[in-house]
Each structure stands twice: as structure tokens, then as C-alpha cells.
Symmetry: C2
Subunit: 500 residues, 2 copies
């Protein structure tokens, strides 16, 4: 092992310490703000009966692979088996032959997997990559969670006999994706999900809207829209224009209406196999305007001949009826027929949340999926869930200056002693502040007063108590408000009252 | 990619979903208890001016490797590079040659690294492993954090220009170790650390004792001991018996006094190069009894000729003086000359915490280290820190039944409607409960009452409101206390008051 240590130590000397690309440290100031967001959302989840779980950072690769499509699989971080991960003889042979030919661009082909003892053969690049894909699962059996949904499905199946259904769970944990990092896209980021499984009541959907409304209102947003649609309505639309098999292409195209406009959508549809006649029938549907009730009325006429379409409308009506019994705080709920969001996944309601106070794409989304746990062999469990985009919400609150000034997470009072005698005098006062539940610090004696006040400023500590020999004698302490700069001489009792 | 998916899908069908060995799911009930512990400790850290940071799950391997000794390096989980991690030609050749000979137990030797183009050579097992160690850093450049201390040191060096010193930070995040799992030892577990860097004031040490006292008292422990020692005293002892170079062997041996008794310690010392004469001088020191002040007095005599020993005593005296200005709640502080804990790391105070209410080894520990950030090139920053053993504290609280019955993290009221009419009646009441800050749920109409009450029982919901057609007509609702089984008919206003 000495060898490998030296390897790293040699590299280290020249390398400034850093974090892997696409990953972040969070400073104390950032953590206060992030905790504010997460704590707010968690408290609302709990208010609606959702319970927290946590799953391990690593899952068996078999749990994750094949669940996110080819592109997703590629982005999953794989963990190298510990110990001698190349100790398997067959694996040796196979990897050897792969590697022997990896650099060779000749394209003669061969079956690598089945005959590890044959002579090394040449292979082309695609074959090389295919072989990498055969080797990877043998040197890596664990991977980092890619989202919270698949681990949740695994959890439900694994613990089905301990769980009381309907099971309402929330989960706030980081996930990892080997995506190319860019502004606002990280390789490690927190997801913030609430899901219910085992209940088909549309009350769940209505409550998700209440959760968004309450959490975002609590965070200080005053104008945001919760868009809602239903996959069955999209299926109905594809049905009435006679192209049910093109539902995915259709929804992918109309989902872009915001971004590429009507002409763009029409052009895309034409390339995907829709005729001008189809588009003429589609156009009034996707341009539907008016209040939600009006839209639903018009849709009832348009989709009159589609059972599935009418079922989608009926579901939305139940949700809207539920919402009439509740009152929303700041949210606007808008039926948006163009909303699709990962259509292959959702089977009923689809949600997406946008703030109207600044431009920031989606800050949340979700929907109903009828067969979440089927992938692990447990059929027939319906579920629905939502997610908050914590990083984007952070940026919104920052931009709109909505983070609260004061926080119970930071120090409220700093005691600044001139010397050791003042420090000794201050110790019981320090403890009294803390016993009263106040976050308080004493700067150890010996530092210049200026340095101590800088410390208070940099840590955003609102109150400072300065104690020198005069103060020790008189008991009248210098109490300074760091924001206003005001200071006065008062007794400790008064200070205690003021900062409580 | 299809290939690798099929590989996994084939395996999946026969595999019951599970988590990797040594890793855990946390159920809602466990999360409530874990949050209770973490929230309590965090609130105390904050009260003493410590600020939270988070670092990424993955660090560059260069940041971690070589910091934990050979054994530690081996236990670090390494993350496979994403994409074609075997695309480097030289790496191909080298890995090929390694693999070609990996299964061969012949022990002829060769330089693998320097001449990748020579004919494949035979190598023995040790050579094989050495070569694995050369390949690993080339197919894996990132690794999972092994503790919170090294990432913290990296953080301090990387962000030194943004940080105000003294920097008091706490961090509560999981770490990963590829250790053999066993009872109470996991491959993923949370660490819970507070450290200060850039202050040599012994007030920090005194405050760590206050933090332990306050946090563990808050958690309900009533009898626990904070043991304290000082590395300089251990150095002084090694010095006065004339074996300063054997300080590590000496402390490793006397650290086991609790477990193997005096005879065991003496035998170990004899095998490590200590003479009977050394041991005769050592024995009275390690068997030192009495109050802390008495022990210090005796040590002053014993270590009179050792400057470093006397310095250690002086430091302890300052800490004890600080503690006289504060009052401790439930902790006993005990000077324990046999306490060592990772001696090579600490340079001043050493702490360890044990509960006396049940047998559970150490539930916390820490100390002062003079050169934490030196490993990343920033010299001369002194630091001190402590850690809480969250998993062990969990087991202690469970055993002593100290977890609180009620929690604001769970649902307080479940509304149980007989039918849709009752459900509709209940919706505004549900919202009123929530508006009053009460965690409340409504079980969607349609389920049998028995099932709904089971749901309340299984979720530990203390209050249930049953609403049928009678209740809708009279406005007198059936209000049931699930613990006592009592139920009465009351108006909603009364219910609201009762559960607040």
C-alpha cells in the first residue's frame, strides 16, 4: 500500500485542495439558508401526515440499473468493489482481451464474453465499449442513488410487511449524477420528495396542491402557479386525432409550446408523422384559454368520444372540487393541457410549479404513477408524489431577498472581554445567556477589541457585550447593537431581557 | 448499453430487493428518534457558536488517500470514473499485463510499471496486489468521505480567505467505510462533529465539556462521565521512565487497563521493550486515584522533572478553573491518565464520554490537535474538536427508554370519515387543524372504520375524530384518545383546544 500512498502524496504537493467538479461545499451562511428551506418544507410535509425515511447512499447496482433508460444508466456513479476486485480468473481473461484490443481501431469482430481463452482478437470502438459494459458490473456491484424514487420503490417492496398503507413518506437526501456540470446543474444535489403509495384517492392530489401552496407561501413567495394536467387527457387527445400510438411524440412536442411557440410545435409534429389535418384538430385543444372550469367544459365536448379522455376530465373535476373546500393562500392553480413532464412515468395527474416573480423554470413537479413498485415485483400499488427543486428555490429566495435576516441558527450575543479578569467575570454571564436559550459566545481573552468586533461582524452576530475593568467594577456593561451601531451601558439583567 | 441492462434485469428477477451489506434503511419511527438526537445535539452546538457546514459526499482521491494509514486507505470506497474508464493506452497495457498474470501463482518477479510493452511476466500474489494499487487510482479518481475531519481540513485550507478565525464549525453527515460489518458497526453511518480551528484558548476545551453536559442531559441521560487527559502528560510519563520513544507502545498498553487489567498491561509492556524497573515506576502513575485535584497534585510531584509533563498539568488546571465558573448539569468530569484515543493525532487535551447507566463503550470523544491543516499545506493552525457517537447514543436512549413519547414530527389528529358526505364535511375542519399548526390527516373516504383506526394505531397517532352522518347533523364529533381508549362527543372547537 505504501506505493499508492506515495502516488497520492506526490500529486498532492502540487495540487490546491478542491472538490470534484460539479460538487459543492456549503458554507455556514449557505447552510443557514438551505436549512431554512428544507426545515420549512419538511414541517409542511409533516403537517400533512408525511413521514420521513432515509435510504442508504449506495444501492446494489441491480436495484438502479435499467430504471432510468440508457442515458440514465450511463450517468449513475458506480462504486468500485473493495479489496482485490480483479481476483476472478474469468474476469482477468476477459478484461485482458478487452484491454489488449482497446486501442486498436480495426473493426474485425468477435465474441468476447463466451470464449475467454481464445487468442486476443481485434475489436472496434463500439465493441470495446460494449465490453466495458460487461466488465463494469463485475468490478462494481454498488452504485450511488440517482434519484429518491427508485430507492423508495425498493424500500416499499422490501419492507411491505412492516408498512401501513397508504404509506405517506417524504425523503430529503442528496442524489448523484455524472452529468456534465453547468450553471445550476450539479453532480451532487438534494432532492426533496413526498410520495404516497397505496391510495387512489384524489384527495392526495388536492393535498399536494395545498402542500405546495403552504410551503412556498411560508417561504415568502407571493405569486406562483401550480400547473396541473392529466395524462389521461393527453391520451384522449391523441385518441381523438386518431394517433394514439404517437402520444409520446405529441406530448413531447406540445410540452415545448412555451419555448418554441405554435409554429415550432407544428413543425415538430409534422416531422413526427402528424398530418396537417391532425394538427388542425389539435390546435384548438392546445390553445385552449379561459378559467379552469371553462377549459374543462370545452374539453368535455372535444373529448366526448374518448373514454380515457373523459376519465381524465372527471379526475381533474374531483381535485378542483376538493380545492373548493380548502382555501389556498398564494397559489394560482391552472389547468395546462400542454404539461407533460416525463410522460412515460405518470398515469394520472401531472403537476408543475412556477414562480411568477422571477424567471426560473420549474421549482417543483410531480404526478400520479400507477405501478411504481412493479419494477421490483410488487404489482398493483398506485402512487402519487411531488418534488421541490431546492436549489432553484434557493436562487429564487436569494434573488427576491426573501431569506429572513434573523435566524435561531446563528449566534445572537458575543461577549468581548478586554482581558483575563473581564473574561473570568464574563463566564457566568455567558452561561446565564445560554441557560436562557440564547446562542452566545465569548471571544477568548487576549485578542484586540477590533479583531473581536470584526469576528462579530463577519459572523453576523447582532449583539455584542464589551467588558473591561470599568464594567467589571460597575456591573454596567457596554451593550452594542451591531446593526445600528448604537451602544449603551446597562446591567446584565437588562441585556438578558433585550436579547430574549 | 442494452447488454448491461439485460444483465441486471436477469439478476433482478430472482433477487429480493435489499440494501448493500452494512448499510441501512431508516423507517419513519427510526427517523423520528434519529432526528431527535441530531436536532438536540445541533441546537447545543449552535448555542455555543458552532456553525454548520456540509462537504460533498465525494472527495478527490488525492484528498483522502494517505491520511488514515494503510488500513484506512484500504477501507475507503472508491468511485469508478464515469464513461470509458479504460480508454488510456498505457493503462490498457499495464492492466492487461497485470490481468494476464493475476491468476498465476508462480513467484517470478518483474517490474510491471516501467515497461508496459515487454512480454507478459509471471508475478506472485503480492505483486498482483501492488499492481492493483497502481491501476485503481487510474480508473477511480474520486472516493467517498471516510470521516468528517479530513474533508474539514480540506475545507479550511480551500476557503481560508473567506473564513473568520477562530472558525467554529459543526458537521453532521454520513461517512463510509468498507469495514467488515458486525453488530453496531456499519459501512455507512453518521458522524456528528464540532471543531474549532485557529484558537489555542483552553476555553474551547472547557466549552466542549459544557456541550457534552448540556446535550446529553437534554437527551435525558443522568449519569455519565467525561474523561479527560492530556497528551503532554503521557509524553511526560514516557519521559520520566526514560522511554520517550516508546510513548505509543506505552499508551496503547495502558489504554487497555479497563479491559485487560493491570497484569495484562504489564505483560504487554514487557513484550514492547519496557523493563520491570520501568514498570515499577509506571505503576503508581497509572493506578493514580482520588479527586481530580489530588491526582494533579500527585502528578506534579511525579512529573516534576518533565517540562512537557508539567505543561500538560498546567493546561488541565486551566480547564478545571474554567469549569469552576460554570456549573455542570449531570456530567462527572474525571481525569483519567490511561486515556489515549488515537494518540498520534492529539497533541493536547483528550476527551472520552461514557454513560454509567448502561454498558456501551464510548459515546463520544475528541481532543486537541496542533496541525490539522498541515496535510494540505496550511501550517500552524491549531484546532480542537469533539464527536458524538450517534448510533450508540440511539441504542442507549432505546435501552433506557428515554425517547419522548410525543413528537412534533408525527401526525397528531386523524379524521376518520364514514362516507363521502362525512369526508366533505371534514375538509374545512382538517384545514383548520393545520392552520392552527397541528399535524393532521384525513383518511380518504371509502375504507372500513377498523382499517382507519388500525392506520392511526400503526402510525402512533394519539387522537382520532370519527365523523358519520349523526356527527354531520349534530356537529358533535366523536373524539377518541387512542392511548386511553376513551371517547366522547364534543364540538370541533373543543377538539381544537384539546389537541393544541
Amino acid at each position: 500500500m505504501q506505493q499508492s500512498q506515495n502516488y497520492y502524496l506526490c500529486r498532492m504537493a502540487s495540487v490546491k485542495p478542491s472538490v470534484p467538479k460539479g460538487m459543492r461545499d456549503f458554507s455556514p451562511a449557505e447552510m443557514v439558508k438551505r436549512n431554512y428551506i428544507f426545515d420549512t418544507i419538511k414541517s409542511v410535509f409533516r403537517k400533512y401526515g408525511y413521514q420521513q425515511i432515509e435510504t442508504p447512499t449506495m444501492e446494489n447496482s441491480a436495484t438502479l440499473m435499467g430504471k432510468y433508460g440508457d442515458e440514465g444508466d450511463r450517468l449513475i456513479f458506480k462504486v468500485l468493489n473493495s479489496g482485490d476486485y480483479l481476483s476472478d480468473h474469468q474476469l482477468y481473461s476477459q478484461t485482458m482481451r478487452l484491454i489488449a484490443n482497446g486501442g486498436n481501431k480495426d473493426s474485425s469482430n468477435a465474441d468476447l464474453a463466451l470464449n475467454p481463452l481464445s487468442d486476443p482478437i481485434k475489436e472496434d470502438r463500439a465493441q470495446h465499449l460494449l465490453s466495458i459494459n460487461q466488465i463494469t458490473p463485475r468490478i462494481s456491484e454498488k452504485a450511488l442513488r440517482y434519484d429518491l424514487t427508485v430507492p423508495f420503490a425498493r424500500y416499499v417492496v422490501q419492507h411491505q410487511n412492516e408498512i401501513t398503507f397508504p404509506f405517506k413518506r417524504f425523503q430529503v437526501q442528496p442524489v448523484w449524477r455524472a452529468d456534465r456540470p453547468q450553471k445550476g446543474r450539479y453532480r451532487e444535489f438534494y432532492q426533496c420528495d413526498a410520495d404516497v403509495v397505496g391510495s387512489d384517492s384524489l384527495l392526495n392530489e388536492a393535498e399536494f396542491i395545498l402542500i405546495y401552496d403552504e410551503a412556498l407561501t411560508k417561504l415568502g413567495l407571493t405569486d406562483f402557479t401550480i400547473k396541473i394536467n392529466n395524462r389521461k387527457i393527453l391520451a384522449g387527445i391523441a385518441e381523438i386525432i386518431g394517433k394514439p400510438e404517437l402520444i409520446v411524440d405529441m406530448t413531447v412536442a406540445i410540452d415545448k409550446l412555451d419555448k418554441i411557440g405554435l409554429d415550432g410545435v407544428v413543425n415538430e409534429l409534422l416531422t413526427k408523422g402528424f398530418t396537417q389535418e391532425d394538427i388542425d384538430r389539435l390546435e384548438p385543444v392546445i390553445l385552449l384559454e379561459g378559467a379552469n372550469a371553462e377549459k374543462l367544459d370545452k374539453l368535455k365536448t372535444i373529448l366526448a368520444s374518448s373514454d380515457i379522455g373523459l376519465k381524465g376530465i372527471a379526475e381533474l373535476e374531483v381535485i378542483f372540487t376538493y380545492l373548493q373546500s380548502f382555501s389556498l393562500q398564494k397559489a394560482t392553480v391552472e389547468l395546462d393541457i400542454t404539461l407533460a413532464r416525463g410522460l412515460n412515468y405518470y398515469t394520472g395527474a401531472i403537476f408543475e410549479v412556477k414562480t411568477n416573480e422571477t424567471y426560473m423554470g420549474s421549482i417543483g413537479g410531480g404526478g400520479r404513477y400507477d405501478d411504481l413498485t412493479g419494477m421490483f415485483g410488487l404489482k398493483g400499488l398506485t402512487g402519487a408524489g411531488i418534488s421541490f427543486g431546492a436549489d432553484r428555490i434557493y436562487d429564487v429566495l436569494e434573488e427576491l431577498k426573501l431569506f429572513p435576516e434573523a435566524s435561531n441558527q446563528t449566534t445572537k450575543v458575543l461577549i468581548v472581554p478586554f482581558d483575563s479578569a473581564a473574561e473570568a467575570y464574563a463566564l457566568p454571564l455567558l452561561q446565564q445567556l445560554r441557560t436562557s436559550g440564547i446562542n452566545a459566545e465569548l471571544y477568548p481573552a487576549g485578542a484586540k477589541i477590533k479583531k473581536q468586533l470584526d469576528y462579530a461582524n463577519n459572523k453576523n452576530i447582532p449583539y455584542v457585550v464589551v467588558i473591561g475593568s470599568d464594567e467589571v467594577q460597575s456591573g454596567q456593561l457596554t451593550f452594542k447593537n451591531m446593526q445600528s451601531g448604537e451602544q449603551q451601558k446597562v446591567g446584565f439583567g437588562e441585556i438578558l431581557e433585550a436579547v430574549k
